[in-house]
């Protein structure tokens, strides 16, 4: 049942911290969906879990993840530092991954932390996957009805050749982003757990959209979000730039379908299309801004170079390219490298190491951008801004 008090408190919170103007705080349940399956209503911008037990199980795993990243995570990190100290190795230095694995794999505390995180992640994916498959018909009917509705549009391309590099079970999500009809549903609830309540009102995407660089002349008529997934960044950009046409493209049709349905529910007009970032099909000089949020670490280096070139082609002179992703400027050391390797290997982040090895600034320059690297060494994300020559 929809609760007015939590509805108001969430939007007031976002407006209060300056992430959204009070009049622009979109909420789920706009009444625009032709078929709306939300048995337990919504909390602000997010539909509540379809059953109380799903919600409670996921809530517990959010607590487990918090512990795995908190108390147990600290113990695990301390164990790494203890091992390095015992071997008289400098913890600030880089280390080949084989050497790091020989030192750290098999340690009981490091292993227990990884087991806990891994189990929580798999468990919450599995319970969502099982629920939505068991209740597939009504949720697919909801998507079908939304596919043809607005505001905004959805373009699906059933004949599209989906590249192999996108067909992996990224983040261990069952079926990945292209092979599970409920990829969007699972991704949304699972990442809300991953963010441990810090993004269930799209707080992160709204704050990143607010910080997005714009062209020097201030003109923003068309924006493209590449690798848009379920469209949270695209929706937030439309809310920041209500007069602009905002587009989101992705290879994963199930992700786009969910994103489009959610944008309708929030009453935000975004145009979603199943297209390749390497070959978008948009005209030359078309967009004022081309952006992405944590897409590039899911992409191999060869495709990255093609996407940089395509972004340059479709941007108008003076347009801005802002590929937001993990920070290349942070100091590299054994702890970080081991963490990146584990994310790559055990969280099925197939291209994570390739991304870490790339020279992003040089790559963007080679594609024709003038590049302003504003990355802060302490930040999680890089801030590298490309501008197409005027």
């Amino acid at each position: 049942m929809f609760n007015r008090r939590s509805f108001v408190s969430v939007s007031s919170f976002l407006a209060g911290i300056g992430l959204l103007p009070a009049s622009k705080s979109a909420q789920a349940k706009s009444g625009k969906l032709p078929v709306d399956i939300a048995p337990r209503g919504a909390k602000g911008r997010t539909e509540r879990h379809p059953t109380l037990d799903l919600e409670s199980r996921q809530d517990f795993m959010a607590g487990v993840t918090l512990f795995a990243n908190g108390e147990l995570g600290i113990a695990s990190r301390n164990r790494v530092l203890d091992i390095l100290a015992a071997k008289k190795l400098n913890p600030q230095k880089e280390m080949p991954i084989d050497e790091a694995r020989a030192l750290f794999d098999g340690d009981p505390v490091i292993g227990m932390r990884d087991r806990m995180w891994h189990s929580a992640h798999n468990y919450e994916h599995d319970i969502l996957d099982e629920y939505f498959h068991a209740n597939a018909d009504k949720y697919l009917a909801e998507l079908e009805a939304a596919d043809k509705s607005g505001p905004g549009t959805l373009e699906l391309n059933p004949d599209m050749k989906v590249p192999d590099y996108t067909r992996h079970e990224i983040h261990q999500q069952p079926g990945g982003y292209v092979g599970n009809p409920f990829a969007g549903h699972i991704y949304h609830y699972a990442t809300n757990m991953f963010y441990r309540g810090g993004n269930d009102q799209d707080q992160r995407h709204i704050s990143y959209a607010a910080a997005c660089p714009t062209p020097a002349d201030g003109s923003v008529k068309r924006i493209l979000d590449i690798g848009t997934g379920i469209g949270q960044f695209a929706v937030a950009l439309k809310e920041r730039f209500p007069d602009a046409d905002v587009h989101g493209i992705d290879v994963g049709a199930p992700m786009l379908r969910y994103g489009h349905m959610r944008a309708i529910d929030l009453d935000v007009e975004v145009h979603f299309a199943q297209r390749l970032a390497e070959e978008t099909g948009f005209p030359d000089n078309h967009f004022d801004m081309v952006v992405s949020y944590i897409m590039f670490h899911e992409v191999p280096a060869e495709a990255t170079r093609k996407i940089y070139a395509e972004a340059n082609r479709i941007l108008r002179p003076g347009g801005v390219f802002y590929p937001m992703d993990f920070n290349h400027a942070s100091p590299r050391n054994a702890l970080r490298q081991y963490g990146e390797w584990k994310d790559h290997r055990w969280n099925n982040e197939r291209w994570r190491l390739e991304y870490a090895s790339l020279d992003i600034v040089e790559g963007m320059r080679s594609a024709g951008f003038s590049v302003d690297d504003q990355s802060d060494k302490k930040g999680t994300f890089a801030r590298v801004i490309g501008t197409k020559a005027a």
Binding site: M1, S6, V64, F67, P181
Partner: protein, 111 residues
């Protein structure tokens, strides 16, 4: 992948299955599986406890206690905060022992 309970179009393509599900972090697959069971049992305990809290809240407010009222109950912000704090406390109580090797160093393997 679970059985799909529908004949509707899925708009999916074939995917490349990952090989991470059987990962052994603790040196013995039985240990890894047991830990997974222990975490899952914690979730079942919390699920039951949360239902009980909802029933108590409905009774305290002298509202009807029906399956629908329980299922659709929306905790107040105060309840939400208190339940989250209790969840974190339970997780810590249940699983803090898992950090103790690092804290004592007594039984950790030689480094």
């Amino acid at each position: 992948m679970p059985k799909l309970n529908s004949d509707r179009a899925t708009h999916t393509v074939s995917f490349i299955p990952g090989d991470t599900r059987g990962t052994v972090f603790l040196g013995n697959p039985v240990l890894d599986n047991m830990m997974h069971v222990i975490f899952a049992m914690g979730a079942e305990m919390w699920t039951t406890k949360r239902r009980l809290k909802i029933v108590e809240s409905l009774l305290a407010a002298k509202r009807d206690v029906t399956p629908e009222a329980i299922e659709n109950y929306v905790p107040t912000p105060e309840e939400d905060a208190a339940w989250t704090a209790e969840r974190d406390s339970i997780v810590k109580t249940m699983y803090s022992a898992l950090t103790q090797v690092a804290n004592s160093g007594a039984t950790a393997p030689p480094v």
